[in-house]
Amino acid sequence: MSQVKVQNLRKRFGALTAVDSISFTVRTGEVLGFLGPNGAGKSTTMKMITGFLAPSGGAIEVAGFDVGEQPVEARRTIGYLPEGAPLYPDMTPAGLLDFVAGCRGLGGAEREQRVRETAARVNLDSVMFQRIETLSKGYKRRVGMAQAILHDPAVLILDEPTDGLDPTQKIEMRRLIRNMSRDKVIILSTHILEEVQSVCTRAIIISDGKLVANDTPAGLEARSRLHNQVILRIRMDGAQAGEESAMAAALRALPGVGEVKSAAAGGEAEFCIGAKGSAGIMDDVARFAHGQSWPVMELSRRRGSLEEVFTALTRSGE
């Protein structure tokens, strides 16, 4: 079932179009990453999905509820960690979670149990009765996360959940997100590319308020110019000495091969052989090198670089 459906969503701030006709759907079990440079419109989109900001145009459906028409019902199904995890500084985590549970209509024993379980889940037990303003950034973020998942929401929206955390805390947070993903829709925003690879099942790249890509991490990698590029390293002694440009030309003549770059140093030459189509050229290159009796030192295939795709897709804004 598709749990979050966004259609032609637009948001204008005066003359600025912060979100420009974005459409996508997310299903239960998916972890969707919003990827984009600062100011791309990720937070604005999330604020509209959670009903905090009114869209200038378009429609949003969350768990079957139209966010514009039934905002409170929609929000009941959503857990939300706003950017920077704003929390009441003078409350304790215990007090805050109790407050959020109350606002969500949880009462009595159920409320206590939920608060206790959630606190344990995000490792908050040791600071439950300390004022939030005295907590470290990592703990504050966990409190923000705890209030978002307290009611076991069907839709979880996390705006930069790992921002400002140290590497260990980042890994921990990602593990938590992955573990929760089975029965939820999770949408998270990030500008860390490795995060997309490690937690997201799909990613949307937003640039200048526009959706420029919507694909799996692997699918995005495949769009890279570098994808399927074959690296061939040859020892350049004997017959091959000084012949690298002729060898590059021979490789270029192979069917399926696109651009070939060569570089020679220290008695070795390296050829970066690009593929024309999506089909692999590894086998053809291997056979050819073998047929030519070139002393092969290395033969490998590169994966596409998400970073390269991201830069290419978002460059227009700069």
């Binding site: 604020k47 959670t50 009903g51 905090f52 900001l53 905002p71 409170v72 019902e73 929000r75 009941r76 959503i78 939300y80 706003p82 920077g84 704003p86 929390l87 009441y88 500084p89 003078d90 409350m91 007090g95 407050f99 959020v100 109350g102 606002c103 969500r104 209509g105 009462g107 209030q147």
Partner: protein, 244 residues
Amino acid sequence: MDAVRSIFKRELAGYFGTPIAYVFLVIFLLLSGIFTFYMGQFFERGQADLVSFFSFHPWLYLFLVPALSMRLWAEERRTGTVELLLTLPVAPWQAVLGKFLASWLFIAVALLLTTPLWITVNVLGDPDNGVIVAGYTGSLLMAGAYLSVGACVSALTRNQVIAFVLSMTLCFLLVLSGFPLVLDLFSAWAPGLLVDAVAALSFLTHFNAVTRGVIDLQDLVYFLSMIVFFLFVNTVLVDLKKSE
């Protein structure tokens, strides 16, 4: 109602969790005492009543209520917690009501702490306790009206000082419009109906009517509709300004 109750509880706990509450209570009691006994010439008048105590309330509230209400929304917007609050399954009016009721109850507690004064006048003489009950009722209602104005203004800005000054000014105008000085200014040229309209807007006119000992339906309706009106505007403003 779960939401209103939770917000009410959080807000009330917030008052008592900070020094604001105790500073407010001490100042309120101190000024009440000073106004009643010293400036109100309690002993010289030779009357066992609380007329002087109540007659200072409009002026006392002018400073103290904005100090209570200034943080209600300005602080939520400054720290960004308004995004946390209003993305819970809570309608803006529920948050507005919960916050208002908490600060109103807080003022009720402050008023309750002045009951030793009431006991004192009963020990010293034989006051009309009905008039005193009316005085307390009127004072609480008027405090509610001040509060609703203050809460409303607090939603306009993320700066508490601005919220304080603005709500004090607005409340001052609402008090002033019943002052003889202002009314005389009008009555010199304006038709009686307009003078009455200006006077009818004033906190003072209605409060004085109540403290005379008769709780008129008209005055009750005035204060309650002031509260409802400003809380309604408050709700609209919260919805409008929350994400700025």
